[in-house]
Symmetry: C2
Subunit: 209 residues, 2 copies
Amino acid sequence: MASAGEGLRHGERVPQRRRGEALEQAILQAAAEELLESGYAGMTMDRVARRAATNKNAIYRRWPHRAALGAAAYRHLAQAQIPVPDTGSLRDDALALLRQANATWSSPRGAVLRDLLAAVGDDPRLLGLLREQADGSAMDAAWLTLLDRAVARGEAPPEAVHPRVASLPIALLRNEYALRGNPPVPDTALTEIVDEVFLPLVRGRASGP
Amino acid sequence: MASAGEGLRHGERVPQRRRGEALEQAILQAAAEELLESGYAGMTMDRVARRAATNKNAIYRRWPHRAALGAAAYRHLAQAQIPVPDTGSLRDDALALLRQANATWSSPRGAVLRDLLAAVGDDPRLLGLLREQADGSAMDAAWLTLLDRAVARGEAPPEAVHPRVASLPIALLRNEYALRGNPPVPDTALTEIVDEVFLPLVRGRASGP
DNA sequence: GATTTAAGGTACTCAACGTACCCTAATCGG
DNA sequence: CCGATTAGGGTACGTTGAGTACCTTAAATC
């Protein structure tokens, strides 16, 4: 067997030691994998370092502490694109969005996110970083789009297009998780949120001041 | 100064070593104080033991791990009695209850509770223990009472008395904390929750199916 | 090719959880 | 009233994991 990798034609050198961006991506990838496999509690710095085939130095040169790495790794694994459903009915659209959020949050990724939010505590920088990708403005935008369409169809009054209304179903879903813990919220709870709260509220704002 | 405690009349002995209930209460008290002073992260087992003038053995004989002690200590310090406001107006009642919850949650105790809920993770026993005293059924009962009174005054339709409606304002308040972190929610957010969501929903359920 | 930059390797400090062991005070049974 | 049992006190560990220090060595840059 000829020794490979060193003697290339024309003397092209293949670096054997990653640097900069390449190394950073490898670390993030390793951290994300650890997060999915063992949760945030299991994502130790040594394990990440070993998995990325590097050492803790390289990590601490980039992130000041574990929570920061955790947040960055979550972001790396949560390329959240939210496809806004368009079924032609406000109720079905709302249910579809809720079900999608429920599926995401009850997946391992959801558990990781909740761990991270807990661990981050009150560090506003990391809090923002997490929320951004997690469910923040993108989610609100989706619900506003959904309401806009309903108004255009004459299904909802214009007063219903309001940030508080838009964020309501997700807030209630989040609340279910806060109360019950990890297991996925049953579908009956989702329909209840839509039928008993969301739609009545949309109606209720019609004749309001 | 005469040496006290040992030589009592009639040979009554005052035990110098606490046992059972007395010691348990002392530990809980010490843990609760640590929680308030330094949060859950600062409530180390050694500190609690020192503060209670005992040692870790006595603690671990009673609680299997730190999280269990934390939950028990929180319960010890959170004798939650919820006085249901009765101002004669649904809006004012609702605002009063919300403001009270906001005050509690933005106090050190609220931060401790959030830390604990995070630390407890998915242990259902501790989760239940915490929620019980924290904001669970007592809170819901208060909101249902408030709705009942409004219905009696003719201020709200009977259909508004529904668990989902009752838990809504607290769910939205909790959501504010989840989104923004520790600082108290501004009063404008509370009035918005009441005026833009809660009251319209109560109205909206009136003519509903 | 020399110099500077950053990765690799490793050992270490420190804090904190949880455990083991042994001694001694309090309680309980007779 | 006196031994036996129970449970608290004291203390020293073992272990894990965060974060740091320091030196060596490869890669990039001048």
